[in-house]
């Protein structure tokens, strides 16, 4: 998954090391996108089950809470036998699992907030359950889903760096390297890169969310 030889920080200064920062920032962004996308792909069907089966929701909430309570290092260790020790897959999958605690809840709550007459109208028009979910419930839950996605993404950006504890995790790699070699500038650069990435993702998702939900912003002309 990693390029053959990732660039290394040279010296104790910033200049000459922009390629390192850029390399790990791009990698960090890629991991975030993969992890959150994977989380969303898992969360949507889970939310579907949770909205259709009354007992499933509390069980799922408890399960996602428990996963979230597993310390990152433990989760990496649990996933590594399946996903390998020498790559970042365990970190990405762990991050995806952590997003579920936010995503499942936000999707389900968003769907539960869809007004009953709208659901009844959809059934009365002849929607089948799956199509109703995709065409009516999910779009109407979008504001809540977007809010959850922003939170999950920002927290993922920050959490990936925890990969530093196993000497991995994109920008986390710069943390462990900077710490071991006592290069303060490397630590600072990685920290600013994490913050910048988090802000960037937040703005992009916010903007995409606005574009996807034009009906929430129309001026009410109701008499």
């Amino acid at each position: 998954m990693l390029a053959a030889s990732p660039p290394q920080w040279n010296g104790r200064q910033l200049s000459g090391n922009w390629d390192v920062i850029w390399y790990y920032t791009a990698l960090h962004a890629r991991y975030t996108v993969i992890a959150v996308t994977l989380g969303l792909v898992l969360a949507v069907p889970l939310a579907y089950v949770a909205t259709r089966r009354r007992v499933a929701y509390p069980v799922l909430l408890a399960a996602t809470n428990i996963i979230y309570a597993i310390p990152a290092l433990t989760l990496f260790a649990l996933l590594s036998p399946w996903l390998g020790y020498l790559n970042d897959k365990p970190i990405i999958v762990a991050m995806a699992l952590y997003t579920l605690v936010i995503l499942v809840r936000n999707i389900v709550e968003g769907i539960r907030a869809v007004p009953e007459p709208v659901i009844r109208a959809a059934d009365g028009m002849g929607y089948r359950p799956m199509r109703r979910f995709v065409a009516v419930e999910l779009p109407l839950a979008l504001p809540g889903i977007v809010a959850g996605l922003r939170l999950a993404t920002v927290s993922t950006v920050s959490l990936i760096s925890v990969g530093a504890v196993i000497g991995r995790g994109a920008l986390g790699k710069m943390f462990s390297d900077g710490y071991q070699r006592r290069i303060a500038v490397e630590l600072w650069s990685a920290m600013f890169a994490v913050i910048a990435l988090a802000l960037l993702f937040d703005v992009v998702i916010y903007a995409a969310g606005r574009l996807a939900t034009p009906w929430t912003r129309v001026r009410s002309a109701r008499a």
């Binding site: 109208a121 009365g124 002849g126 089948r128 199509r131 009410s220 002309a221």
Partner: protein, 272 residues
């Protein structure tokens, strides 16, 4: 036409068992409007929802145009039945045009045909073409109800179920919507079951009125004139209230409401 044959719906079991609709048999002829009236808890909405299987009857059979509804896949049945509900139940995330196109799209019509049809319906229900791209939140209550009616009519279903369709608007708009719906019905001749708690609305729109008593028993079904002339029971008479038929040469032509002023309303001289 629609036929309910000994239909019963009960919820719960044993001591908690409540009967919502009790051994109801009635038929709605093709092109006829039957208004279902009754106080809350009389099972009128339950009855309506059993016709398009949003609720399944406990016993009894319901047929629509000769087909037993329980033998059809629910979603297919529903696409052939127009459904209008209170506060319209419009999809907030879809424009007026997209809302009206819902059932045609579910039936697999292509986009162009659905849109053309939706525009026709907007005209039919008196919505200005400029509304086409608005979202429901941008419409008045009356306009929303028009969209609701247009959406129900989009695929030209023979049968229309209406659940207090004009209940959420002010009396002036309601009267206007009622008049327009009556005009529309003369043109379209749908088979309509219409739930309302407004006796006057039932009298104005219903070819026949079915009065449901508490616990979902049919108290009487008759034309408005027959009902007012000869209520079958004290319950029906009570439910109809102080409405009295007016005759012209022995033929009922209308009705008036006999209500005395409260003392506080005071007195006024009759105009000369």
């Amino acid at each position: 036409m629609i036929e309910l044959d000994h239909v019963t719906k009960s919820f719960g079991d044993g001591a908690d068992k409540t009967v919502a609709v009790d051994d109801l048999s009635l038929s709605v002829a093709a092109g006829e409007i039957v208004a279902l009236v009754g106080s809350s808890g009389s099972g009128k909405t339950t009855t309506l929802r059993m016709i398009n299987r949003l609720i399944e009857p406990t016993t009894g059979t319901i047929t629509v145009d000769g087909r037993d509804v329980s033998t059809l896949p629910a979603h297919e049945l529903r696409r052939d039945i127009g459904y209008v509900i209170q506060q319209a139940g419009l999809f907030p995330h879809r424009t007026v045009l997209a809302n009206i196109s819902t059932v045609p799209r579910l039936l697999g019509w292509d986009k162009k045909r659905s849109t053309t049809r939706a525009r026709e319906l907007m005209e039919l229900v008196g919505l200005d073409p400029s509304m086409a791209d608005r979202y429901p939140a941008q419409l008045s209550g009356g306009q929303q109800q028009r969209v609701g009616v247009a959406r129900a009519l989009a695929a030209d279903p023979p049968v229309l179920l209406m659940d207090e369709p004009f209940g959420a608007v002010d009396p002036i708009v309601r009267a206007q919507l009622q008049r327009e719906f009556a005009r529309l019905q003369r043109e379209l001749a749908k088979t309509v079951v219409f739930v309302t708690h407004d006796v006057d609305e039932a009298i104005v729109l219903g070819d026949r009125i079915a009065v449901l008593g508490h616990g979902g028993r049919l108290a009487q079904i008759a034309t408005p004139a027959e009902l007012l002339a000869a209520p079958a029971s004290a319950f029906v008479a009570d439910f109809l209230g102080p409405r009295a038929l007016q005759y012209d040469g022995g033929v009922a032509v209308g009705y008036r409401i006999d209500t005395s002023f409260a003392i506080a309303a005071g007195r006024a001289e009759a105009p000369r």
